[in-house]
């Protein structure tokens, strides 16, 4: 049977469409833009080769470090707060039979919106005077809790993160929920016969079985946090005074608004490399865990 699943021609044939699309529309642009990381280029006129100068400048750039720190905040929030929360909601949803269509559609709804629309909504929610959040606090007498959410450097980044979580939770919930429901009923049933209680089933059966998808969700959420661009642009545009700047917005500003395409490309290369390292670490940890279990 190994023969059947080890036919090289078939293997190549199955991979070819994906690989050719990928190499043409992703590979070429990536190589081309990374190539400019070694040039000083305004994006229009002649470019000059500057070797590693862009990277040297980058590593001495305070704003870049600040934005990197914000990306770390982003990752921490999405993996330590959002992800466990999303798993809990998915587990709750998987238990429920009544009104499940309503729940499953409801939790997913924000994901249907585009980021631009999410921005419009949340700017109204965070509005210092007429905003929903401050109105809510004031109406219950908690005036002290009312803040200038997006203009106060203490709160602005958190404000962006909450809006981002609101938008994407549905996406992750649907993924995890599908995985949970995909766990064969027989396994759960036989565990019940063996006398396993709810928690044991969750810990020894459900979680290990949905582990591959949890790793994927983790990868997506870390990669997404590192590349975050749109949500920051619509919410704060990196402000107040660049306290919510992330690496991708910094790249965007440099490459397109300040006519430093080469420098912007260098930022992109660095984002790429750091994210790659992070995702490798996640994969390594995931593998390690597997070894212990079996």
């Amino acid at each position: 049977m190994n023969r059947v699943m080890a036919r090289p021609v078939l293997y190549i044939l199955f991979l070819l469409p994906a690989l050719s699309l990928y190499i043409i529309f992703m590979g070429i642009p990536i190589v081309e833009s990374f190539y400019y990381a070694f040039f000083q280029w305004d994006g229009v006129t002649e470019s000059t080769f500057v070797g590693l100068d862009n990277f040297k400048e980058l590593f001495a750039d305070e704003v870049f470090y600040k934005s990197f720190a914000n990306n770390l905040y982003f990752i921490a929030f999405s993996t330590l707060i959002t992800l466990p929360f999303v798993i809990v909601i998915s587990l709750l949803l998987s238990k429920i039979k009544k009104m499940m269509d309503f729940y499953r559609t409801g939790v997913f709804l924000p994901t249907i919106l585009s980021t631009a629309v999410v921005g419009v909504i949340w700017l109204f929610i965070y509005h210092p005077e007429v905003g929903l959040l401050n109105n809510l606090f004031r109406s219950v007498g908690l005036d002290a809790f009312a803040q200038n959410w997006l203009s106060d450097p203490k709160w602005a980044m958190l404000g962006v993160l909450v809006a981002n979580a609101w938008q994407w939770n549905g996406f992750y919930i649907v993924l995890i929920l599908t995985a949970i429901l995909n766990v064969p009923k027989e396994i759960n049933e036989s565990a019940e016969i063996d006398g396993a209680n709810g928690w044991q089933k969750l810990w020894y059966i459900t979680l290990p079985l949905i582990r591959p998808i949890l790793v994927v969700v983790m990868l997506l959420s870390v990669a997404g946090s590192m590349k975050a661009l749109d949500i920051v642009i619509v919410m704060t545009n990196g402000n107040p005074f660049q306290t919510t700047e992330v690496m991708a917005t910094y790249m965007f500003t440099k490459a397109f608004r300040e006519y430093q395409y080469g420098y912007g490309s260098a930022v992109a290369v660095v984002i790429f490399l750091i994210t790659l390292i992070f995702t490798w670490i996640i994969q390594l940890l995931a593998k390690k865990g597997e070894d212990y279990e079996y």
Partner: protein
Amino acid sequence: MGPLKNIALSAALLSLAVLSGCGSAATTTENSTTDGAKEVTLSLRHTQIKETTKTRLKILEDVVKQTETNNPGLKIELEGVDENVNRNQKLKAEMAAGNPPEIFEMFGGSDTQLYVKAGRLLDLTEFLETSGLKDQFVNLEEFTVDGKIYGLPFGGYAEGVFYNKKLFQELGIEVPKTWDEFVQAAEKLKAAGKVPLALAAKDAWVNGMLFNSIWERHVGINGIEGLVNGSTKWTDPNMVKAFEDYAVLVNNGYFTNGALGLPYSEQGAQFLKGDTGMVFTGSWDANRFTTDEAGALKGNIGFFRFPSIAGGAGDQTSINAGYSNGFGFSNNVSPEQKEKIYAFIKEFYSEEVQKRTLLEDKVLPSMKLSDLSGVDPLIAEVIQTINGSTSAYKAFDAIVQPSVNTALGNSLQELIGKVKTPQDVAEKMQKEQEKANKSNK
């Protein structure tokens, strides 16, 4: 890059053949010449795709139709693209590759300079001189590079203070002529529980407008221009004073609460709500201020020039005004196309079209108009203010490098957020300026 790309391209075409079931095949856009009138096609890229720019688009479409009627065989294809996407990516990529549309919307200042440096723009100097059009424009400075003209503005703007006439009357406030009167007016408004100055500055450029005027009053336009060649410094005493005055407005609490978290569109909305005394902005907002959104304020909004500052080195009765929104033209065109581009210019840049733009779109004309009848009173007030000013100066972002522009936006936000002092900010700006001057970006 070359060979790699070719291999990949042929691979791409191969897979396209497989996938081409969906979507039409690529069409070639070569101009075919038939008998009779010579057929010429021009592409015109505009950015008037928003609901608020419907009027402007209509005017453009009418001009295009008229040009086509007057030039048999000419076809002008309009294509509308989002302003940011066009400016940041699309037009830029085309400029790098040398294949922009024949006619395109373009900003004066740094964009124009960049495209001239790349050698992509049609030099209009001779045509404008022989046709006599040149003298009809108010100001072509932002489209002029090394004495040659590469673009034509279709409108202008002026920045100043729009104020709520009702509130001013109720509180007995006179239009301020000096900085002190301005501060007193703001103080009165604040005491009456109103917001003196509407501000929504999530986007850093918004802060730059009001600061630009305070700055010019203190250092003069030469002082601003001197930064780029190093003859003046951000740390010069009068520069620091400009930051200090700006900080006065901040520290006295004259701006909207939480301004740094609000999108620009919110600023006009706040002002129109009626409990805000003034807003410093450009004449582009005048259009909005005369619509139904103004509610009870409609017709009760006035405009004044930023007040003078005693002891400042600038022209105390000047106004920030510019003509930077315009059209550029590709020099990668055939002689026939060039001729038709000129035909379009003659059609578009006429007193008639300019007057129509002023009346319907409420954009300040870029050409000298003899007849200003029928103009909306608020717009008329803006035009009178410009005419009554001793000089007009262009915005700082058309002078300093883009990276300095970004830094200034941040610095002003830092002042508003009260995390830096004027002195700190000035020092930081000087550092950024030196870096930009050195790399000449």
